[in-house]
């Protein structure tokens, strides 16, 4: 990034120009008349008014108003809304898998191997004659479940390690970051392999293995953010309130690290799915006959030229899920920043 001379940096200049405008508080929020109640006889318009009022009467009203405005801001981003919709549809599909599945995902029909899509098998069958559509639905439970579990393990761990290292500095920083470096130095799949090999192969082991290899970048990211945040006046001001270090890290520093972390998480979704698939392919992740999207592709690789649909269907599912998470993450980042609203 060049912060160069005049002609070199129209971006930076543009940014300062808008900052310099500083309009009278840019609230186009309609004024609410009187003291509207949430359950007024007016129904929906009254509730909207209550949510969008310029002068909330209570803390909870203000909080709900903020949430509503965040939702409105989110809705203004069509791509993010699409992402959210895709994810919701997927969740619905996998929750209703027992209803929607046409076959038992485990039942083999060896006489009907690698069948093309038909009325009987909507998306065809795989190399053991199992119905791909049904396996896709049940597989989503495992794949998406693994992704969510990994993220729930990784993001808080990375955030905590990074923020503590960045905020405490000195010996703590060096210690935590060297540990992070050690984890970062191993190739991801190899480290995961070692962990799974030491444990019992299975979905849970795969989740823990992936989580162990995925957290270091999060810690690095959170630390980098924290290093700039801890120098700010608002953190000094928080210290002046007499708050403990734990309180400052949890309540003042971490929220500022969230946006970049959210983006990073959503970008990582697809690679987590792929790592899970890799482990499954090596026989160390989801164990057959469990359907799992990555494993499904891995096994279908052998007949990808003749019976392409077997690999294509889970491929589409992974692609759609990854893309939807990315779009959602982009929208979330904007919403998480109140300045963007």
């Amino acid at each position: 990034m060049s912060a160069g001379p005049t002609p070199g940096s129209p971006m930076a200049d543009a940014a300062t120009a808008t900052a310099a405008v500083e309009p009278i508080p840019p609230d186009a929020v309609p004024e609410a008349a009187g003291a509207p109640s949430p359950r007024g006889p007016g129904g929906v318009p009254r509730r909207r008014e209550w949510l969008l009022t310029d002068a909330p009467a209570s803390r909870s009203q203000a909080a709900w108003g903020r949430r509503y405005q965040a939702w409105l801001a989110f809705r203004r981003n069509p791509l993010a809304t699409v992402g959210l919709a895709v994810i919701l549809v997927m969740l619905l599909l996998i929750l209703l898998a027992p209803v929607l599945a046409t076959h038992d995902p485990g039942i083999q029909e060896l006489g009907n191997r690698l069948a093309a899509p038909s009325a009987q098998h909507w998306l065809g069958t795989d190399e053991l004659g199992r119905d791909v559509w049904s396996r896709l639905l049940y597989g989503g439970r495992i794949t998406l479940g693994m992704v969510v579990a990994v993220v729930l393990l990784v993001a808080p761990l990375g955030l905590l390690v990074g923020c503590v290292a960045g905020y405490a500095g000195g010996i703590w920083d060096r210690l935590l970051m060297r540990v992070t470096d050690v984890f970062l130095a191993f190739p991801r799949l190899i480290l995961a392999l070692a962990f799974v090999a030491a444990m019992r192969p299975g979905v849970e082991s795969a989740v823990i293995a992936i989580a162990l290899t995925a957290w270091p970048p999060y810690a690095r990211l959170a630390r980098a953010e924290t290093l700039t945040i801890r120098r700010t006046d608002y953190v000094a001001a928080a210290r002046m309130t007499g708050a403990s270090h734990a309180r400052i890290v949890l309540r003042h520093v971490m929220p500022m690290c969230m946006p970049s972390l959210v983006v990073r998480v959503t970008l990582d979704m697809s690679s987590i799915i792929l790592t899970a698939a890799g482990l499954g392919f090596l026989g160390l992740g989801a164990q057959p006959p469990l359907p799992e999207w990555g494993t499904m592709i891995a096994t279908a690789r052998r007949f990808i030229l003749e019976q392409w649909w077997v690999a294509l269907m889970p491929g589409i599912a992974i692609f759609a899920a990854s893309l939807a998470f990315n779009l959602l993450g982009d929208g979330l980042r904007d919403v998480l920043d109140p300045k963007q609203r």
């Binding site: 002068a55 203000a62 700010t232 002046m240 309130t241 007499g242 708050a243 309180r247």
Partner: protein
């Protein structure tokens, strides 16, 4: 009220403050004047406990202070920062910003106190649930002042509280600070590069240069131009030329 003895601050090779001493009486407002790099803000941050790399003596209310400050200290001493854009958490509403010190100190009637603090600094109630970026510069500095005062401190450290503000807003904030000081009997230390601002609020002031106090004088002597040290004389001359323009 505040007693500084032979305060010395080093950051590695940078010797920022070189053995300064001064005393601020209860109810007094003491000014620290100097150009950037003179060490005036560093002194203030050391008193506030935001800097630990100091040697010498800092005593508040007769009690000598160590590097680490306890919670009671932050109930006595509060600080207002220079940049109201930077000193308010960008993701916290005014309400949250003001309730933070109350929560830390376990103060009971938080709601009533927040409303009173907003009133005291003449902010409309509608500002309570706004984010800092939705407020003007002057309003932000009022929020910062309200945050400093919400837990009833007796000492207020002011680090260039108006230099990031427009002159019309500066006048309002200076008046507000004078009113609050009188109403609450606050003891203040005001750091500023602007002699006129310091003369307006402070009874006594110290002029700093290169980490040392070169001269301590009172407001009357300053206004009368009875400074002895050449650096003080330079600052006064500069201030006069700007004013007479």
């Amino acid at each position: 009220m505040i007693d500084i003895q032979n305060l010395d601050i080093r950051f590695g090779a940078n010797h920022a403050v070189r053995g300064i001493s001064f005393h601020v009486g209860a109810g007094e407002t003491f000014g620290l004047v100097g150009e950037s790099g003179s060490g005036k803000s560093t002194v203030l941050r050391a008193i506030a406990g935001l800097i630990t790399e100091w040697t010498g003596g800092i005593a508040v209310d007769g009690k000598a202070l160590g590097r680490r400050r306890d919670r009671a200290f932050f109930r006595t001493v509060q600080m207002v920062f220079q940049d109201p854009y930077g000193s308010l958490h960008p993701r916290q509403t005014v309400d949250r910003i003001l309730s933070e010190p109350l929560a830390v100190h376990g103060v009971k009637d938080a709601d009533a106190r927040i409303l009173r603090a907003l009133e005291e600094v003449a902010l409309p109630r509608a500002a309570r649930f706004r984010y800092p970026h939705q407020l003007s510069g002057g309003q932000r500095q009022r929020v910062a002042i309200a945050r400093a005062l919400v837990a009833d401190p007796r000492i207020l450290l002011l680090d260039e509280p108006t230099s990031a503000l427009d002159v019309s807003v500066q006048a309002e904030v200076l008046n507000l600070l004078a009113d609050l000081r009188a109403a609450r009997g606050l003891t203040c230390i005001l750091v500023s590069h602007n002699l006129a601002v310091v003369a307006h609020l402070c009874g006594r002031l110290a002029v700093m240069q290169g980490g040392r106090i070169v001269e301590v004088l009172d407001e009357a002597a300053l206004r009368a131009g009875k400074a002895v040290h050449p650096h003080t004389q330079d600052l006064i001359r500069l201030s006069h030329t700007l004013e007479s323009a």
